[in-house]
């Protein structure tokens, strides 16, 4: 039997099931216990699992990340919530210098099964300091796994996998997707970290997108099918590890690559993916890869301005058209 749940419910359910399964799993963060989370993602968990396992912290991101590191290396499986992913700036040292490198710098003496959940992404009018695609900040820090679910099923399945994972996982929850619905089994499946999903098969162009952009990429693909363009939409679902093989295999068939991302270009996962595929699949390409992303500006507040910043369905569809038109001027 299957059921329809929201992205938000999937996250709550995954935490509850993980805590049910493993006594070592606990959750802490700002207002996650009594208030049930700023985004209500941990609603009911305090009542169900008690204050030992569901804990409110002060507004102290460095302390939250430090607690995650120390408890993970000493045998627990902490889930730490950073309310808005942008606050990772406050505890960047803990994540990038300590958590990511701990195992390596100690020659493998330590395992670090910590899951950090971060509220990510734009589209909800929170302005420049509460809307960024923060997953990109950590791409150049070896030692972190980076997970970016776009559907309720993936949010559930990947969060369960993240909590079981022996390594630190940054789990980015897109704020604009909390209310989106999707089908999952009554006992939803775990999703392996590092496996891309071919969301929509196609033959003419490979379109890669995550989270909110995945939804818009599918909408663009549907619009383009009316024009006779067959788009293959792929969601990597995790950026580290990145399933380049699945995307490369698609590219070998379609010979065109478009990436839609909610980020400006430099230092982004899309730019990284393009660079990698240029190096390994150059011969497959019939056109230059195209990155459809945000402007090189902070994210603006006003609704119309923010909507211009985030790639729209039309902008993504137009990118696909331009890519396919390369070498065939109208």
């Amino acid at each position: 039997m299957s059921q329809t749940i929201t992205y938000k419910q999937a996250i709550t359910m995954a935490m509850a099931d993980a805590m049910e399964e493993d006594e070592r799993v606990l959750l802490f963060g700002e207002d996650v216990a009594v208030a049930g989370g700023a985004f209500k993602l941990s609603e009911g968990l305090l009542e169900r699992f008690g204050p030992r396992r569901v804990r409110d912290t002060p507004i102290s991101e460095q302390a939250i990340i430090g607690t995650a590191i120390g408890s993970a290396l000493s045998g627990l499986r902490p889930i730490a919530e950073i309310m808005f992913a942008d606050f990772a700036g406050v505890c960047f040292d803990g994540i990038a210098n300590e958590m990511a490198k701990y195992r390596y710098m100690t020659g493998g003496q330590v395992t670090m099964p910590a899951t950090i959940r971060l509220g990510n992404g734009a589209g909800t009018g929170f302005a420049a300091q509460h809307s960024q695609a923060v997953e990109n900040w950590f791409l150049n820090v070896p030692g972190l796994k980076i997970v970016v679910p776009g559907t309720p099923a993936d949010a559930y399945g990947l969060l369960r996998s993240a909590i079981r994972d022996p390594d630190p996982v940054l789990f980015f929850e897109h704020k604009h997707l909390f209310g989106t619905k999707g089908e999952v089994e009554d006992a939803p499946a775990l999703v392996e970290i590092g496996r891309a999903e071919v969301v929509r098969p196609g033959t003419d162009v490979t379109l890669v997108a995550t989270q909110l952009m995945r939804l818009r990429a599918v909408a663009a693909a549907e619009a383009l099918s009316a024009e006779g363009i067959s788009v293959e939409v792929i969601d990597p679902r995790s950026l580290v590890p990145l399933d380049v093989a699945t995307i490369g295999e698609s590219l070998d068939r379609t010979n065109h690559l478009v990436v839609a991302q909610e980020s400006s270009h430099d230092g982004s996962w899309g730019a990284t993916l393009v660079a990698r595929l240029m190096a390994t699949h150059f011969e497959s390409l019939d056109s230059p890869p195209l990155l459809v992303g945000g402007d090189d500006t902070p994210i603006p507040y006003a609704g119309p301005l923010e909507e211009l910043w985030i790639p729209s369905v039309d902008r993504i569809a137009d990118g696909v058209r331009r890519t396919l038109a390369y070498g065939h001027p109208a």
Binding site: Q62, I65, G70, M105, G143
Partner: protein, 329 residues
């Protein structure tokens, strides 16, 4: 907030045999760091190295108040603390020399000595980074209903970084079994404390976090041991964290590139008279230990350090492939 009476250098309620072992440990650490100094001069230590000569009583006195299963985190000036917690001399040398058999397989070096098998969970080179991390090791003990304690060494400079505030605050509200030990050696890198910090007694900061704060003579190993033992007992009993400020002095500069020219004339000499090893030895002899016994301990410590270094020097370099290991489990 008390300043303890002047040095006695010996602990009234601890058997002398055990205190002789404190002396052995301090002597080993002193010789170990003198060798590090020479190895650096010979170009065998990469990057930099930060010596703690003169501060041994804080590290040894505190670690001897812990169980092996208790955890200890320290700074990049951490050779002494990690050895005091029980790490082997040869593998510590091996790490500093970047050898495969070093404590961390040559991936950490002087600033990151770690030996999880003895509870030395890390040496941290970002000032203050470990103060929040010990919240987690302490939380695990509390969570599992065990009575282990996490001890955290840091310097006076760390009390001015934000992580100090976040960590002590949360340790206190969660009543975590942590003992925060500030090794106040009067200088944050090259800057005298008075130029960076508007108060004289760093233990006063404990009041902001509702925890006890005590300032002690960090060169008197008896006082250090007694103070830490009582803070550890308090933590084990579930009564929460304590901040201990141990006044001490590093004989060398901040790092190997620092001749410490900023120190006022006579300051080093005055502190050398209060060298923790000298104080402890003198007190042991006054308590009835034969001088020859102390000398034998010194000679043995030197020989053990020399032998450990010889072993470490003979070890292989890490294999090229090892650089790719341990990014993920």
């Amino acid at each position: 907030m008390s300043t303890k009476p002047p040095a006695t250098g010996v602990a009234a309620d601890i058997p002398l045999e055990e205190q002789l072992d404190w002396l052995r440990s301090m002597q080993e650490i002193r010789f170990f760091e003198e060798e590090c100094h020479r190895l650096f001069a010979r170009g065998l230590v990469r990057g930099s190295t930060h010596l703690a000569q003169g501060q041994e009583a804080v590290n040894v006195g505190a670690c001897r108040a812990l169980r092996v299963t208790d955890t200890m985190a320290c700074t990049y000036r951490g050779h002494a603390a990690v050895l005091a917690k029980g790490a082997p001399l040869d593998r510590a040398f091996g790490e500093i020399l970047g050898k495969a058999e070093g404590l961390c397989g040559g991936k950490g070096g002087s600033m990151h000595l770690t030996d999880m098998s003895v509870g030395a969970i890390g040496s941290f080179a970002i000032i203050g980074a470990h103060l929040p991390i010990v919240l987690g090791t302490a939380l695990t003990e509390q969570y599992e209903g065990r009575d282990g304690v996490s001890l955290c060494f840091f310097g006076d400079g760390s009390t001015n970084i934000g992580a100090f505030h976040e960590a002590l605050n949360m340790a206190s509200i969660w009543k975590l079994p942590v003992v925060y030990v500030c090794e106040n050696n009067l200088y944050g890198e090259y800057s005298p404390l008075a130029t960076t910090t508007p108060i004289e007694r760093l233990a006063d900061r404990a009041a902001s976090y509702g925890m006890p704060g005590v300032t002690i003579d960090g060169n008197d190993i008896g006082v250090v041991h007694e103070t830490i033992a009582s803070a550890v007992a308090r933590a084990r009993a579930g009564e929460g964290p304590t901040l201990v400020e141990a006044l001490t002095y590093r004989h060398k500069g901040h790092s190997r590139s620092d001749p410490a020219a900023y120190r006022p004339e006579g300051e080093l000499e005055a502190w050398m008279e209060r060298d923790p090893i000298v104080l402890h030895e003198r007190a042991l002899i006054e308590a009835g230990v034969e001088q020859s016994r102390c000398e034998a301990i010194r000679t043995q410590a030197e020989a053990d350090v020399t032998a450990a270094l010889e072993r470490a020097m003979s070890w292989a370099e890490p294999s090229p492939e090892s650089r790719l290991e341990h990014v993920f489990a």
